[in-house]
Amino acid sequence: MTRRGIDAVHGWLLLLPAMALLALFTHWPALATFLDSFWSTPRPRRPALFVGLGNYKSMLADAVFWQSVVNNLWFALGTIPLSIALALLMALWVNDRIAGRAAVRMAYFTPTVLPMIAVANIWLFFYTPQYGLLDQVLSLFGARAHNWLGTPETALVCVIAVTIWKEAGFFMIFYLAALQQISPVLGEAAALEGASRLTFFRRVQFPLLMPTTLFVLVNAVINAFRTVDHIIVMTRGGPDNATTLLLYYVYEVGFKYWDSTYAAALTMVLLALLATAALTQYLVLERRIHYR
């Protein structure tokens, strides 16, 4: 056999185990989700029927679906800008020579290594009416007890707060790494020109951090659509579906009502959203915007 032939055989043999598992647990299920979404869910005395776009039609008429989309968009809008802004602020602080910055950096990063499900349980107590820490602190200022997670108006905000707390420290480290790569010469030059610190940040640091911001942004978007651990612990989508996110609704339809084909149709929406995020990353990030 030629060298090329041997290389091909070796190459494919090396790939085989990983490709087989990927095919079984990523490619096939993605395809099956698509195909299943055109069928009805088989029930004991009713086999699966081809229903065409039936599932998608009932989805368009499903108020809970629309609410989960709207909730998810609000959730994304609430978590993404704030956690990125906080991450940047944290990175700028930790990057400066503040006292005890190693300890501060550790404090910011700690939520990242804790299980979401564990911290959600702690936050659950913070939000408890009357006894919870939040109500206790607020009562010092004369506020009345409030059922934070039990009121549709505040439940989603509470969940958003937990997510920001969990994510900001993780995003911080990317900003920190990027800040440390900015040459000190730029700072000296700007200072010689008499630029204020704010100007230095706006005109030098922030533009140079653009690739990091885009990277963090895409990650934040993906996270906003695939994290539901805290929903399961804190609200179970309630009250009155006020905190039902798209993936949580998939979980509910698939494993509480056992309507697997409708869940498949819902998953397709989720996949479309994730694909959009990934394509944005590919098209924008891969070009590596640099202002040099």
Binding site: P17, V113, P115, I122, G187, T267, A275
Partner: protein
Amino acid sequence: MRVQSIAYAPHGPWRLLESAAAWLLAILWLLPLLYAIWSAFHPAEYSARFVPLAPVTLDNFARALSAAPFARYFLNTFALVTLILSCQLVLCTLAAYAFARFEFAGRELAFALVLVQLMIMPDVLIVENYRTMTRLGIVDSIPAIALPYIASAFGVFLLRQTFKTVPRELDEAARVEGAGALQVLWRVYVPLGRPVYIAYALVSVSYHWNNFLWPLIVTNSVEARPLTVGLQVFASTDQGVDWSVICAATLMTSAPLLLAFLLFQRQFVQSFMRAGIR
């Protein structure tokens, strides 16, 4: 750590103000954890009353341990992360080696097929993967939790990038000495990739230690449940479990990772960074 932009380092009162703000936020960020520690080590009646001299107790931990089989959950999680990581390392290393150093037809297509997983994550394919596990007859087992995550596109990608930076000369030299493809991989590529392997291992272990939704769906017995699911089952039963006990259980669940993080802070932060930037 390099200090940069000294020109703009805050001075005098500004430095004080900035430090104070940073510390305030840091305390706010640690508050949930500090609260859990307070509550777990004090009797239930102090769980919302912060008296400096409140008696310290380990009673909450004892009660949590006797109320749910946490020892078994620990064992399950440990088996789970070990299984996932060891399989990931082997499979991803082999695949990354093929992508980095072998020329063959269909390589680009295969690589694109691998990268699909970065977009379509197993976290989202819960319904179909559950059906697959049912067909395979392995629902409610540790391998069922592990299987969708073993072929990790992220691991393949990370290692491929690493292997590509290995000088060809080293590869050729080993081959001249008569080493086969796998021997070269083992003796040249794997040792040179060590920092990346450590980074990947830390990220993988913390991800799967903390993973919740898929294990929740695919397990329903004490024998297969990992810690996260066990904690949730324990905390959501309405048997009047008090907060102190839940906090104790929460701390136990997070303790191994938290301790590892405190001990190897630098490696953790660098690993997450390396893994994220790719």
